[in-house]
Subunit: 265 residues, 3 copies
């Protein structure tokens, strides 16, 4: 497996242009997080240009957090354009089990073959098993409860699947890893999960191998959370220090601080 | 009257799911403020799902800050769904007197019977008296000048009405209270009023009695502003410390720090 | 030339109401930056009210960052309303060369005669020469490479043109100036360019002469960046201190700290 520090170094050297069709809550922090990490974000979602832009971007991320019928068409067209241009794209199925509209949107996007799917445990279970899950955007399930659903989803779709939470789980259906980096303050700041989707997109857009790149992105993100939490007085100061940490972590820091456990496939 | 600390403790124990149809400026800080306070925010506004979601959420808030014709339909349908499910909902009539479009939207939403109306003095006067008010989103009137309009509005609609400013005024048409907590830096940070609407919705969604719960929410919010201002070097550091203070204030802190004056009805 | 400190003092005394039709990423930081500077921001873009509001605002800014067909109509109508009411308006042609949709939107808005055009070097070159420029929202060109394009654009349209980057260039086609204030952390925070468009709009909306007012706004903004960077540990803490600095800089600080070089026309 590629050392995560080397993947970070490579991502920064490429500074990939990452197109994000994301929710209104996440747009600003996601752009700031991608800039702090060293990527070049672009929030382009209008149907008039989303697909055209997907062909010039290095990666695309699609997040259904504040979905509407019009945006769903943009998402579908942009994903198809990314596929046609052989660009990686990441699906973030926010609250996919919460309403009928989200369930059908999730299935439609899934059918387009994302390179990576990143969600919390409830979202991955809902996506894998086509089941409902009532309670909003926060996960009601533990990551461990979603590991078998993630593996099934990876095998059924060909995507790498990342379930994030206190300990993250990543699998491509054969290989798997757990990443223990992170801090309990992270879910107290909105859209940090959404923005992580962008950072993973940056690693893939830079050309990192998709399983190793996803694992590296998750370790890097969680390590930034640990560094930020060490000096934070609450979620406000945490969010500020998190951006500083994303910019400040070097490849060697990441290799020293990452807590990755490789698992048999 | 319920001690505000007890209301805060109860709100956090319930961690209510609060659906917000709010403006683009407020979405991110409102979500962060609700998370810092201990609630679970969800920004769901698309017509395809807003009403369905309102039935599963514990409370709904509606803010007309960046209104459009399409969103107005979502607001109306979501408010009706909240009513049908006996869930509390809060109306935030941003700049309601500024344009013809806002005036008609305000009247339409008012007719649906909000549980709570929270606005600045100019907005409450405009809503109560159907009058125009020219200047943007900032209040041109003092809270004291809006007290009689607030009482009239509460009696005419059955809603609790909260007029916020340097000293807040809350009334249900019979009881009334003034809350003196807060700091002059609060209006220098955008969307703090909008986000307060969400925090009040969290207290109501947790099952707090609506007059007492609103008073508690306002005292809690203002106290967080005071704590944040004590160490702030300007509006940027204030906003960061404000989130930290919302998360850090305990029930006893709130009871000790709240400055609430009960008034004869 | 008016001393920049005097322009800042005047802007704050007027506290102009600045209407912004801007992108979703910029809305929140732009509002906070305008509030910190001392102006009164309003994000009003719906077609039902954008033109009506433009007639009561002191200035209008239009940013095509997250453009859609519907918003473009609002932009065109609001710009026409600003023209009819003799109010200044500022065009921010984000990534104008990136897609066919943006190029045609840029031309349509340009034809309405903005008071000021503010962009990065790649955007000003694309707008002046109707050329494509591929890579997202970040400039691929140096400011110096855009000076002649800026002068041509100013002469062809009658607008003041500001090219911002490490050293800014401002021209009205006859006069020109370079402003050296700023810091390398500024492009690491999203939407700081977009928000600068709002600050320039505030100076013009307050009645500052448009060339001098633009130069003052750019020096003020860059100086805030320098002050913020002096104590920042990364882009997160920089953004916080930047807001504090915008609020804290006084007229004398600006006169002492501005680094403006006037140029022959």
């Amino acid at each position: 497996m590629t050392a995560p520090g080397r993947a970070l170094e490579h991502m920064r050297a490429v500074a990939p242009l990452v197109q994000n069709i994301t929710n209104y809550v996440a747009m600003n922090p996601m752009a700031n997080i991608l800039l702090a990490a060293g990527a070049s974000p672009a929030m382009v979602h209008a149907r008039e240009e989303a697909a055209e832009f997907a062909a010039i971007a290095d990666a695309l991320t699609i997040n259904i957090g504040t979905l509407s019928a019009a945006w769903l068409e943009s998402m579908v067209e942009a994903a198809a354009a990314a596929n046609a241009a052989a660009k990686p794209w990441v699906l973030d199925p926010v609250a996919v089990g919460a309403t009928a509209f989200r369930r059908s949107a999730g299935e439609r996007l899934l059918a387009l073959g994302p390179t990576l799917i990143r969600g919390n445990a409830s979202e991955i279970i809902a996506l894998a098993h086509r089941v409902d899950s009532g309670k909003g955007v926060d996960s009601a399930d533990a990551v461990s409860a979603a590991e078998s659903a993630a593996t099934e989803l990876a095998r059924a779709t060909g995507a790498v699947v990342a379930v994030t939470g206190p300990v993250d789980f990543v699998t491509d259906g054969t290989r798997a890893a757990r990443i223990a980096n992170g801090d309990a303050l992270m879910p107290r700041v909105t859209a940090l999960g959404c923005a992580l989707t962008g950072v993973a997109g940056a690693f893939l857009g830079a050309g990192c191998e998709r399983f190793d790149g996803t694992v590296a992105a998750l370790a890097y993100y969680g390590l930034a959370g640990e560094i930020a939490a060490a000096e934070a007085a609450g979620p406000g100061s945490f969010a500020v220090r998190f951006l500083d940490a994303l910019a400040g972590i070097g490849p060697d820091d990441l290799d020293a601080g990452s807590r990755i456990e490789g698992l048999a496939g």
